[in-house]
Each structure stands twice: as structure tokens, then as C-alpha cells.
């Protein structure tokens, strides 16, 4: 089975993000494998280790820089890595990103697809499901339990008040939630093995797309501006006798904060 894990390059959750002229400043920011994608990789590696003829592939879409993140993902123990490298990646919306990934998946082939339930940077939570729809595959999102037996997938996902159990045939797309498994750390042997494994960089042309299909041209959604969160205003201490301060507090809550 060819198990493909979709991976996104995201800023480290501990990175200090600054915004300049409506754009996120990327200098000095460290980029990592999207943590939710690691649950998908772990699940794929577990299938492989349980026996049988399986290969685990990493597929990512990003700029040339994302090659490092693809390699970090491979260091967890994957067999092959693929990067669709294009400068337009940061300008692609979820639809276009899914379009690129679906085209790359058709090119490399797949029997099973895993990805994180969302990326920790834009939190759109759409790409996995969109990929499945574009490839006409079954999908289950925010999955916290996974089983594969005789070509059939049985997954569980937490819903209001309980667990939902879904069964479907492979190939399908699973988006992974925390709790699905305990992702491993890369071993030093696997780190050393990365550069000995096949790593392919596709251009848009290689997967049958053109510049018109991607970036601002190919997207429905355009991000016009980023703004840093507003600095929290300093608190105000109301001083005086209890009778007066209580009155002033009620007045401020009603007239200034407008919360009562």
C-alpha cells in the first residue's frame, strides 16, 4: 500500500510572529512540520511496522524552503519525500492548495492518505477534506482512533456527547486529531538516512498545472492584510469609598465596556 502523508510547513508555535506592512515577517522564524500532521505520519508508520508491503510517502506543497520540513518529516521514518515547490504557495487558499496536492497525489499514486486535522498557522481545517472531494474519496476528519483491517478502515471521532464510528473502504482521507497516537521522535539513524532516500521536487508543470491555477490567480480567497492582535489596554483602578466605586463600576460596565 502506498500511504501518503500530507505535511505543511508552519511557523514554530513558540516563534515570535511580527507583522510588517500587512505581511507576516518571516526572518528569524523557525519552521516546523505541522504538529497535527505528525499524528498522520505516526499512524502511517504504525501500519507499515505492523507488516505487509507498505510504503510511507511525505507530500508537501510550499516554497523551495519547505524542502527542509519535508526532510524533517521523512526523518520520522518515511520512505520517500515529495515537494511541490512554487513561490505562489503562501498566496494559495485552501481550495488551491487542495488542487495542487490532489494533482500531485494523482502523479505519485496512493492507497491511503493521512493529514492533520488543521494547520496551526491558518487553522482553516479544510485541505484534507477538499483533497478527498477532488479525488472523489471517502473521508473522515478530526479522527482520534484508527484501525485498518482487510482493506477496510474503521475510525472514531469525538462528537457532541460521544464517539462516532465510521467505516469505509480504502483509499480514503483521514484528518488526524490529537490523541490518535503518540508521535515518535526522529531517531538518529532515520535522520542520517533521509539524504539516502528518494526526494522529489515537482514544479507545477510536472503535475499538470500552470501559474494560472495557483496563487492569487487560482484562489477564491485572497488574504489582503495581516494585523497583529491589539495590545490589551491597561486596566483601570477605581478608587474611593465603596459606595462611590460600586456606582462608578456599574456605570463603566454599562456605558464604556457595554457589557451589562
Amino acid at each position: 500500500m502506498k500511504i501518503v502523508c500530507l505535511v505543511k510547513e508552519v511557523p514554530d508555535s513558540e516563534a515570535k510572529i511580527t507583522v510588517e506592512n500587512g505581511k507576516i515577517k518571516e526572518t528569524g522564524v523557525k519552521f516546523i512540520v505541522n504538529p497535527y500532521d505528525e499524528y498522520g505520519i505516526e499512524e502511517a508508520l504504525k501500519i507499515k511496522e505492523a507488516g505487509g508491503e507498505h510504503q510511507v510517502f511525505i507530500l508537501t506543497f510550499g516554497t523551495e524552503r519547505a524542502k527542509k520540513v519535508m526532510e524533517s518529516a521523512m526523518a520520522l521514518g518515511a520512505d520517500e519525500g515529495f515537494l511541490v515547490a512554487d513561490g505562489s504557495a503562501p498566496d494559495c487558499d485552501s481550495h488551491t492548495t487542495a488542487k495542487v496536492l490532489a494533482a500531485a497525489l494523482n502523479k505519485i499514486g496512493f492507497d491511503m492518505i493521512f493529514c492533520g486535522k488543521q494547520a496551526i498557522d491558518d487553522d482553516s481545517s479544510q485541505v484534507g477534506v477538499r483533497v478527498a472531494e477532488m479525488l472523489s474519496l471517502g473521508h473522515a476528519s478530526v479522527v482520534n482512533k484508527f484501525e485498518l483491517t482487510d482493506g477496510k478502515v474503521k475510525v472514531e471521532r469525538q462528537i457532541q456527547g460521544g464517539q462516532e464510528v465510521i467505516e469505509m473502504p480504502v483509499p480514503c482521507v483521514i484528518t488526524c486529531q490529537k490523541g490518535l497516537n503518540d508521535p515518535r521522535y526522529p531517531s538518529l539513524k532515520n535522520i542520517m538516512a533521509v539524504k539516502k532516500k528518494p526526494r522529489t521536487v515537482f514544479t507545477l508543470d510536472d503535475i499538470g498545472l500552470s501559474a494560472d491555477d495557483v496563487g492569487v490567480n487560482g484562489s477564491f480567497v485572497e488574504v489582503t492584510k495581516f494585523e497583529p492582535p491589539l495590545e490589551k489596554a491597561p486596566g483601570r483602578v477605581i478608587e474611593g469609598e465603596p459606595e462611590d466605586t460600586a456606582k462608578e463600576l456599574i456605570r463603566s460596565l454599562r456605558e464604556e465596556a457595554k457589557v451589562i
Binding site: 527542509k68 524533517s72 521522535y185
Partner: protein
């Protein structure tokens, strides 16, 4: 052109070990220290990451990385916990190293795969009660008896010497007199369980409390000729060479420990408010932190260059001694300032800096005191 960039493997390894240390070691380090507990569970987890046998070729079960990679690994462990870093540094430099560099093919085939898997640890017995800086004071003797040797004596302060998974001790003993009248030293690889060989775990340490330290006793311990590591009479050379490389890993512990202590102090000073200001804003503290950051940077590149010399088959011994001396003394200064910045809280177990302060002291003493490093360096520069 000088290139100070580390390669992709070094960066990935640093990220992986930092992640591991922060998530798996940091939450339990204080508790292990308090209980003087050597954690087999942690050793098993580190084995899964191949932290034993980093520099050993793949054919023997190692990861085939260079020495710089190993040093970065120890640095990252020490940034979080000295005891854990000690277990790994001793496992590699003192357990695996001598077998790989001096063992015969049979010894390598028997022990290296087990050691690289982390299922077995090896120890290196050199120091004795009356032979510390003066290795010439060694009293342990081996007397030949037919095809066997009979060993009598004892060793002290032996890291990884008595853990449940320790498989052997490499032990230096006097085997006679050389032609020039000096004592002849030979190293023996003595498996645990050999009759006449016992170990005792040492307790009550101020530092590295969750690492395993032992005394080794040999009473008419009979071992075959085949247990000689390498050749008879090579013991002294083997010991010097092992210590040369070992200095790099002790230096890495100083560097990593200093980095960890500095980060704790910086964070605390950015949060603690006195006189209406964060205390990092007071020049008295800011200058301390600036000094720490500068000295750590200098220590790092001194050590990395020593590793670079080693990895390029260039003489590295002088630079290794300099790195060991400098990195451990930098950590000494850094932990001192870092506790001062923490004030009263820095004296409490609840704060990690207290452990760093204690753990540091070993580095100026173990594997050659700072004074011995200065003897080594002074000889290299022609004094």
C-alpha cells in the same frame, strides 16, 4: 572561506533531541534527582532515538555520525539535565569508545551491537581511591596464571558502573614492568557476573544524582587472556586516548548546562518584578546576562572547532583540553550568576537552577580536573 553553518543532519538532530529533552526529561528530572533514581525507562527511550553509538559505524549497529553530532546531542541533553547527559556521554565515550577503538574484532562483534542498542551499558574503570589526578598511583594488579589473569584491586567513581543493564567494566590494571622500568598497564574487559567481580552503587552525591556511579571490587577475579582489550601493555595509551575524546563530551555538558542555566536566568529575569520593573532591566542583571551569552557563544565555537579538528583527522587534543577547561568554567560562572538572579528562589529545589548549580561542580573535577587540563594545555604550548 570559513563556513560556520552546521549541516542539515546536525540541525535535525538538535531539534529532535531538544524536543525529546523538553518533553520527556524535563518533567521528571527534578524527581529523579531528588530520589537518586537512575531511570531505565529514560535509557530505553533514548536508545530508541539511537543516542548510544552515535559515532559508531552502521556495521556495528551505530548511527555513523561525526563527533560534532555526538557533542550537539550531549549539549542538548545537558541543557535540560546533567545526569541524563552524563549517562549518554559515559555510555558513548567510556563504554562504547574503548571497545570500538581498541577492542579486537571478536570483542567488537560481541559487545558493540548490544551497546549501540542501549540494552547494555559499559563502564570504564580508571580512578581508584588513591589514584585520581595521579593515575600512576593505580594499585589494581593483574597477575598471569597460565592462560588466565587474576585481578585484585578496586575502582571508584565509575559512571554507569553498577546499573541493572551494565554489561562489563573495562578495567585498567598493572600487569608488570616495562623494559624502561616503568609500570606496564593493561586494560581488561570484565563482564559483570565474573566470579570475584562485584560492584556497589555510590549514594549521597551532590551532583548527577540520577546517574549511576559505582565502586568496583576485584577479589581474585580470574579472567582469560582473551579479555585483554587490544594488546597487553597498551592500557596507558588507551586511557590517554579515551580521555582526550572524553574531554569533548564533558565540555559539551558544560556548554549545554551553561546554556540551560542562562535560559532559566533570562526567563526568570524577564518575569520577576522588583522596584516596579522587570529585573532584567536593571543593569546589574542585564550585564550578567550579557556576559553569560557572550561566554557561552565563545565556549560553543571553541568546542565545535575542536570537534571539527577531530572529524577532519587533525590534532585536536590541545583544543579538547581547552574546551573541557573553558566550557566547565563558563558553566561555573553562569550558574553562579543565574542563582544570584533567581535570588532566594534559586536556593530552592523547586527551581531547576538549583540542580544546575549542583551539577556543574563535577565538570571542573571529573575526567581530569581543571588543574590537570591546564597541565595538559601547558605541555602542548611548550611550557
Amino acid at each position: 572561506m570559513v563556513d560556520f553553518n552546521l549541516n542539515d543532519e546536525h540541525n535535525m538532530l538538535r531539534d529532535a533531541i531538544r524536543d525529546f529533552a523538553e518533553n520527556e526529561i524535563a518533567p521528571i528530572a527534578e524527581q529523579l534527582d531528588e530520589k537518586e533514581e537512575f531511570s531505565l525507562e529514560l535509557v530505553a527511550k533514548m536508545s530508541d532515538m539511537n543516542l548510544f553509538g552515535l559515532t559508531i559505524p552502521e556495521e556495528y549497529g551505530g548511527s555513523g555520525m561525526d563527533y560534532l553530532a555526538y557533542i550537539i546531542a550531549v549539549e542538548e541533553l545537558a541543557r535540560v539535565d546533567g545526569s541524563t547527559a552524563a549517562t549518554v556521554a559515559a555510555g558513548n565515550s567510556l563504554g562504547l569508545g574503548p571497545v570500538y577503538y581498541f577492542g579486537n574484532e571478536e570483542q567488537k562483534k560481541e559487545w558493540l551491537p548490544k551497546l549501540c542498542s542501549g540494552k547494555v551499558l559499559g563502564s570504564f574503570g580508571l580512578t581508584e581511591a588513591n589514584a585520581g589526578s595521579d593515575a600512576g598511583g593505580t594499585l589494581t594488579v593483574a597477575v598471569q596464571d597460565g592462560d588466565d589473569w587474576i585481578i585484585n584491586g578496586s575502582k571508584i567513581f565509575i559512571t554507569n558502573g553498577s546499573s541493572e543493564i551494565t554489561g562489563f567494566a573495562i578495567t585498567q590494571a598493572i600487569t608488570g614492568k616495562r623494559d624502561d622500568g616503568k609500570k606496564e598497564y593493561t586494560c581488561f574487559l570484565i563482564p559483570h557476573g565474573t566470579p570475584g567481580f562485584t560492584t556497589k552503587t555510590m549514594h549521597g552525591k551532590m551532583m548527577w544524582r540520577s546517574s549511576n556511579t559505582a565502586e568496583l571490587y576485584f577479589e581474585d577475579c580470574r579472567v582469560p587472556n582473551s579479555s585483554i582489550l587490544g594488546k597487553r601493555g597498551d592500557g596507558f595509551k588507551q586511557m590517554l586516548s579515551t580521555l582526550d575524546k572524553g574531554r569533548l563530551s564533558i565540555a559539551a555538558m558544560g556548554l549545554g548546562g551553561a546554556q540551560g542555566a542562562y535560559e532559566l536566568a533570562l526567563k526568570y529575569s524577564q518575569e520577576r518584578v522588583q522596584f516596579g520593573k522587570k529585573i532584567c532591566k536593571f543593569q546589574a542583571n542585564a550585564f550578567k546576562l550579557a556576559d553569560m551569552a557572550t561566554e557561552i557563544e565563545a565556549a560553543r565555537w571553541l568546542l565545535y572547532r575542536a570537534c571539527w579538528l577531530h572529524d577532519n583527522d587533525l590534532p585536536f587534543q590541545k583544543e579538547a583540553a581547552m574546551s573541557k577547561l573553558y566550557c566547565s568554567e563558563v558553566m561555573s560562572r553562569v550558574v553562579n550568576h543565574a542563582v544570584q538572579i533567581h535570588g532566594g528562589y534559586g536556593l530552592m529545589r523547586e527551581y531547576n537552577i538549583e540542580r544546575f548549580y549542583r551539577d556543574q561542580k563535577l565538570l571542573e573535577i571529573g575526567e581530569g580536573t581543571s588543574e590537570v587540563q591546564k597541565i595538559v594545555i601547558s605541555r602542548y604550548i611548550g611550557c
